[in-house]
Symmetry: C2
Subunit: 160 residues, 2 copies
DNA sequence: AATAACAGTTGACTAAATCCACCATATTGG
DNA sequence: CCAATATGGTGGATTTAGTCAACTGTTATT
């Protein structure tokens, strides 16, 4: 096949992607943009600051997490993390506790309210994703996840 | 398999993703973030405004394109497109020409210099991607593109 | 001819992200 | 033990990205 961008027929009236269509990064960005826009508009009512959702989720899954570790995982600057945790605390979804062993660190913990809030958000996310993912068979979905994981692992090794 | 997030063993010291790991959107974002950061740092020397590269590429692939059509395709506001085309023109990579048939429209065209610049950028992008994609077999790569296209098509139908 | 729709432009505004300097605590090496 | 250095966290300044609303000129509708 000469042009992989033709794997799926372009809808009529659509633009020619040119060489851009040969790159996975482009398709990745396209899909991801659309997905995050859908999620954003589905959660527009609650003021959901960028990165807040994934941060809370990571805190819940890793009790005692430090803000630095959190920063690294979500790929944002430390100062942004401060703002995020500030808001998580103000909303009562998480708390900072001074670490006993290292008094520089803030050990982060999700509250019960935070966990409940998370459940709600996960429900919405699941709905948004399903609207797109029902196109894929369970096997394809599993494969997709695996491919993405292998790519991510490779990407991390790159800039070591 | 109970937890698809375990398709690839997590590297030691890595955080527990929790329920977040069940969602493709998360993996998508992760990989995409990393890729675009790599590309950004590889092109840091040339001041490469966001969206400029893909815009130029689309113009080159669709001579006579209007700014509105371009806006829709890259998913940005019309006003952003104006700024992008401004810079493309200032740098001599593209030109605006009044459409003969509809004098409201600006027919966009890439210059020879623009095409040359594109070649350069595509080369860099290819390099950045290869660093990650060499993990995947050609068959897997093709499949990945196809899955992403199906997802994108579905996402577009959603908010019609 | 009046009105509405559309392409493009501008400027104001909001939010996201990076950068840098700084404080408190820990760790290391002499 | 002390000095130097590294680390976790915070605040503020600045840059940048993205959204919105108003306005101009052109075309389409009736």
């Amino acid at each position: 096949m000469k042009n992989p961008s033709r794997a799926v027929a372009p809808r009529p009236g659509a633009l020619n992607l040119g060489r851009l269509g040969e790159f996975v990064g482009f398709r990745l960005r396209r899909v991801q943009n659309q997905l995050s826009k859908d999620f954003a508009s589905a959660t527009a009512d609650r003021g959901l600051r960028a990165g807040l959702f994934s941060s809370l989720s990571l805190i819940a899954a890793n009790p005692g997490l430090s803000q630095n570790e959190l920063s690294r995982e979500i790929g944002l600057d430390k100062s942004v993390t401060v703002a995020i945790v500030d808001e998580l605390e103000r909303s009562g979804w998480a708390v900072r506790e001074r670490s006993e062993t290292d008094r520089r660190r803030h050990a982060l913990h999700a509250t019960a309210a935070g966990e409940a809030y998370l459940e709600e958000l996960f429900g919405i996310l699941e709905q948004t994703e399903n609207a797109v993912l029902h196109q894929l068979s369970p096997a394809e979905l599993l494969l997709l996840s695996e491919l993405l994981d292998r790519m991510y692992a490779a990407a991390l090794h790159e800039d070591s």
